[in-house]
Symmetry: C2
Subunit: 400 residues, 2 copies
């Protein structure tokens, strides 16, 4: 078997943990498997480097930021190779240059394009454990790029796809994907299997287990993912295209407070008003999560936008500048909202699911401000301070 394993920054955060991970890798290797390991930077290393950089330049060039941050994973893989060598396991570290891990040219948020598998194959043939730097790549100019925070998951999936690995295991500090945040909901259960699409919906709705792009890539190349803990031997969650029919109706309940609502009020009810708003924001690279257009009253209508809280200030400034062009009265902001979502392949075909969700929210006395749906998701927007109560109530009613 060819197994790709990815360990995050917490799993290699100090020498004791590096040794634990090395033991885990050794076990897999000694069972006769070919093992490729993708590592993140040691916990805190990235933050320390960011602090140093900020002291020297508040707005450092992204190319140099990438050059700087990429040293973190290089340190991890070299240390792991040494640890394995000390245990008698032949191992070799490979950085983005050596692999080579080709990406697009854009710094700090590049996308993986292709992987030269020749060196990896060569080293596997001589029965070495391969340790690859996550998070980083090489653009066509020969410069180091990084692929966004959490990008090591994507590195692992890309290697698994390129090498046609039998398995791709993402190790983290939780046992797998849960039906809700277990720190929040006592009855939260680990999900045994979940589809790529459900995982993507859960992730975009606040479940922080996997880097979204890694799931997209796994779906595209049919790489079966396993999310499991680096701290125990528990089974973890399998993410794949089709899951057992007996799987739960609802895969999970997610809540997050990262979004805010910006409402443009009193827009003259003329065609194209929503388009005009979106056009202004798109031209300024501001991403909208959802858009809601209320029915017009007295020839005027409101348009509400849900977006990341960090984009609110820029958005308000932009919209106020264009109020006249938009034919609107003003801009309202509500930062005190939270999202609670249920995700599951069966959400759409089962009207009972939505009914149960709203009944639970009503009984808990929670006021729903807005509703959004997709093929396998129902999201409600509520008061921020009621999020935890809402997640608990919905989880209890639908999952137990």
């Amino acid at each position: 078997m060819l197994i790709v394993k990815k360990f995050g920054g917490t799993s290699v955060g100090n020498t004791e943990r590096i040794k634990n991970v090395a033991n885990r890798i050794a076990k897999e290797y000694c069972a006769g498997n070919d093992v490729i390991v993708v590592l993140s930077a040691m916990d805190q290393t990235t933050d320390e480097l960011l602090d140093l950089a900020k002291e020297l330049n508040a707005n450092p060039p992204k190319r140099e930021m990438d050059a700087l941050l990429s040293t973190g994973e290089q340190t991890s893989v070299a240390l792991m190779a040494m640890t394995l060598a000390g245990m008698g396991i032949p191992a070799i570290s490979l950085n983005a240059f050596q692999v080579a891990m080709h990406t697009t040219a854009i710094h700090s948020n590049a996308r993986l394009k292709s992987i030269d598998t020749e060196r990896i194959e060569h080293e596997l043939e001589s029965k070495k454990v391969i340790l690859v730097t996550g998070f980083q790549g090489l653009n066509k100019y020969g410069d180091v790029t990084t692929i966004g925070r959490g990008g090591s998951d994507t590195t692992a999936v890309a290697i698994a796809a390129a090498m046609h690995a039998d398995s791709c295991e993402i190790y983290t500090d939780v046992d797998g994907v849960y039906t809700a945040d277990p720190r929040l909901v006592e009855g939260a259960r680990k999900v045994e299997q979940i589809t790529y699409d459900e995982m993507l919906e859960l992730a975009s709705m606040g479940a922080q287990v996997l880097h979204n792009r890694s799931v997209e890539l796994a779906k595209k190349y049919g790489v079966e993912l396993v999310v499991r803990s680096s701290l125990n031997e528990n089974e973890g969650t399998v993410i794949k295209e089709v899951v057992n029919v007996e799987s739960m109706l609802i895969s999970g309940v997610a809540g997050d407070k990262k979004s805010a609502r910006v409402t443009v009020t009193g827009i003259s009810d003329i065609p194209g008003s929503a388009y005009n708003i979106l056009n202004i924001l798109a031209n300024n690279s501001i991403n909208i999560e959802e858009i809601h257009q209320m029915a017009a009253k007295d020839g005027k209508e409101d348009v509400s936008l849900i977006m990341s809280k960090e984009n609110v200030d820029d958005t308000v400034a932009l919209l106020e500048k264009h109020l006249k062009k938009l034919g609107a009265d003003g801009v309202d902001v509500d930062r005190e909202i939270a999202r609670v979502s249920i995700v599951g392949a069966s959400v759409q075909g089962n009207p009972g699911v939505a009914a149960t969700m709203f009944e639970a929210l009503y009984k808990a006395g929670i006021n729903v401000k807005m509703i959004g749906t997709s093929e396998m998701r129902i999201t409600v927007y509520i008061e921020e301070e009621e999020m935890n109560k809402a997640v608990k109530a919905v989880h209890a009613a639908l999952i137990g």
Copy 2:
């Protein structure tokens, strides 16, 4: 003018110092010069990485050690590029892959072979300051090598040679090359000019200003070196092929305690005894600094070897194993010796110099155990505890 500047780990040891060096670079750049800067790892970084490695594997593979340590210089150059960018100076960091800096294949002590100057030339044409990682290279397998501690000096000289630079400045924490260690000898003076050969003799005799290999390389390619302080604007010392005739008779007095003496006693006076000893040591890669063969007494002779203290244990074990083959009685060790050397182009042709040196030692009551000479050097071996007294006495007599 094309200027190559090298700053060591102390000069970039924290963000304040990085800013100081950036100011210095900016000044040179703004005067209209092309500037290439070679940097070492930030002070302590290398030691911290070595400690981490040691915790994980007492005897780590050298390939992985090189991969690990090379992150130190990558961090320095990226941080410096950001700092310069913040000051409005266009700058770009280049690592060993990007340059590319080709070396021999051997890890931890590789030798520079060639430099691809294309990328550097290209970036210079677009008027950028080039920041190059010192100390590291790339071997034919595409793996990172390092060229020995202090190797950044050599990197700078190699780039100056390849780029036909007008000047190569090595910045350090002293003002230049001194006639003796100024912490030890009050009257020590900065040397204005010194030849490559004198510098090589001084360096191998304990003066720690420059990496020896960098001076050899500078001599080979005729690169004029300037050693100066990163803390002030003083002139520094120029190292070149021919110096002013008015230059001092003696360039410097150096002392060090790094060596020990191992004596093989009672060797039967047969041809080849010294050869046999050297052969055994060479086969075990033990380097000998000097060898002294005393006149035979009663058909038996002693052979004394001067070597680095760290090689003594291995040497004694080896020689004792081969005592019979060597036809010797035993092995004596004297770890309590120091070397004091005077270096200068005029040493050989001026018998008065040697006389003055020995008179000074005699008057100071210092017993000379052994003497070694070369074309431009006289070295005495004395009691370790008398080293400082000897250096002062010789310096006072010959330099003042």
